[in-house]
């Protein structure tokens, strides 16, 4: 059996509605329960479990905190973690069929594998230097191959450079960049070399220079380090009364595959049990059948988040959450500092004008 979960932590799921959605973990809500913030208690109840890690995705569980926090992290991962992407494009020569601006837009969307820590953030009207800009170039011409296979109609056999891929982008070191050991160990490159950018035919030519800068997804989606960053709540299913043997197959089929299992109980009878609630999609099919009325209670755990983060390629999937946390803490620091100045204005500053302060009857 899965662990017992405190009823206050459950979101109820009925056939046509959900209820008990809002969190109630505030002081004064439940008699005899405090819920005042306590860091030691939080550390004990907090769980972060990485479940799966691949070169592109990470799945982890975040247990013991509120949706406000989970959502803040998700929002920051999508919109406020900074990465590096192509911002300005100089098209010196483009005789392909694709218009300059369309090609420039495509170049902007190519994910670049560059550690964002290497650059300063870009500010509007900044002067490009080796500290805030990385330069790439594409210089290719399509030509006919001298002796193509007889009767071939395949452009890749007939012509050289018939398809231009992301791998044709070449890093052009500027200033001190070529001398930095970190940069030479992992030189700036494209994350996915096999993205087709444009197709050329003999005589057509590209000569393009690109400036890449550091910014965030709020500015443009190309800077977002994630393809998707989502969370869902852990399903929690309770079987309230035993399911008769002749109905067990039907019962098990009303859940996603792998959710329900079958085993022998102490009386050597077959019984249905919840094997892996995590796999359920909460289809609520079980509520379609009157014979299962009152037999099962579907809920989700309000403070158990199952995160799935898929990297768009700029950084490793496991590096995205720590970046998001760093951004979150920087935000808190900025507001803290500003609040400190508001509460204790510098001596020489003009006293703050009290606008419309009033006495409230106690």
């Amino acid at each position: 059996m899965p662990e017992e979960i405190h009823p206050h932590r459950l979101v109820h799921i009925a056939s046509e509605r959900v209820s008990h959605v809002s969190s109630t973990d505030y002081p004064g809500h439940w008699p005899g329960e405090s819920y005042t913030w306590d860091l030691e208690f939080f550390r004990k109840s907090l769980q972060v479990d990485v479940k799966r890690l691949t070169p592109t995705t990470i799945d982890f569980d975040l247990v013991g905190t509120d949706a406000a926090i989970a959502n803040a992290l998700r929002r920051i991962m999508i919109g406020e973690v900074e990465t590096i992407a192509v911002e300005n494009v100089w098209v010196w020569q483009n005789t392909s069929v694709m218009q300059d601006e369309v090609l420039a837009s495509r170049l902007g969307l190519v994910p670049l594998r560059i550690n964002p820590a290497r650059l300063e953030s870009w500010t509007p009207n900044a002067v490009p230097t080796d500290a805030n800009t990385i330069s790439f170039e594409v210089q290719v011409t399509c030509t006919s191959r001298p002796f193509p296979p007889r009767g071939s109609t395949d452009p890749s056999e007939l012509y050289e450079n018939s398809s231009i891929y992301a791998s044709h982008l070449r890093w052009k070191p500027v200033g001190a960049q070529a001398a930095l050991p970190d940069w030479l160990a992992d030189p700036p490159s494209v994350a996915k070399p096999d993205i087709v950018l444009v197709k050329l035919r003999p005589g057509q030519e590209l000569n393009i220079e690109m400036h890449c800068v550091k910014s965030c997804g709020r500015d443009h989606a190309k800077y977002s380090p994630v393809a998707t960053a989502t969370y869902r709540l852990l399903p929690y299913i309770q079987i309230l009364k035993p399911i008769p043997e002749q109905l067990q197959a039907k019962f098990m089929q009303s859940f996603s595959p792998g959710v329900m299992g079958k085993r022998r109980n102490k009386q050597e009878e077959w019984e249905v049990f919840v094997k892996d609630a995590r796999k359920d999609t909460m289809s609520r099919n079980v509520f379609l059948y009157p014979e299962f009325e009152g037999a099962v209670k579907l809920t989700r755990v309000r403070d158990h988040f199952l995160f799935t983060i898929e990297s768009a390629g700029q950084m490793a999937p496991n590096a995205i959450l720590p970046e998001a946390i760093a951004v979150f803490r920087r935000k808190l620091r900025t507001v803290s500092k500003a609040l400190d100045e508001l509460m204790h204005p510098p001596e020489d500053a003009e006293p703050e004008v009290q606008e419309g302060g009033m006495e409230l009857d106690a």
């Binding site: 907090l46 990485v50 926090i69 992290l73 979150f328």
Partner: protein
Amino acid sequence: MSNPPPDDGSLRYVPDGPKISVLPGHTTDYSHATFCIEEEDHTLGNALRWMIMKNPKVEFCGYSMPHPSEYKINLRIQMYDNASSLDALALALKQLDDLAGAIEEEYNASLEGGEWEQGEDGEMDLEGAKRYAAEVKKRREKEAKEGR
């Protein structure tokens, strides 16, 4: 009213005032006050609201984004027993920072534990990830030194 966009052609939001200000209508002891926080949104607003509500001295806390295209939030705090809402806000900011630190520690511990499942699309480049982390650390130390 918010300021017009800058003349560099971008649609960047230009803040109306300081990062944080107290809006008119607060009590003289700041036990009931609405704060305006510039250049923040639901990300910080909702997290702050939740943490402030965890303070037993707080009678009410709520936030709103007055307009979706104005990048600022209004945060309302009402305290019991004429306590200071400024203190409650400062405390919540500190507590949220502790919370974020705790989550990061747990996450790193879980990653180092290495008890995760591998995917079908190959193995993680853990050596590359280490080099990456070292560079990030260097940068953070440099920024901390410059006081950012």
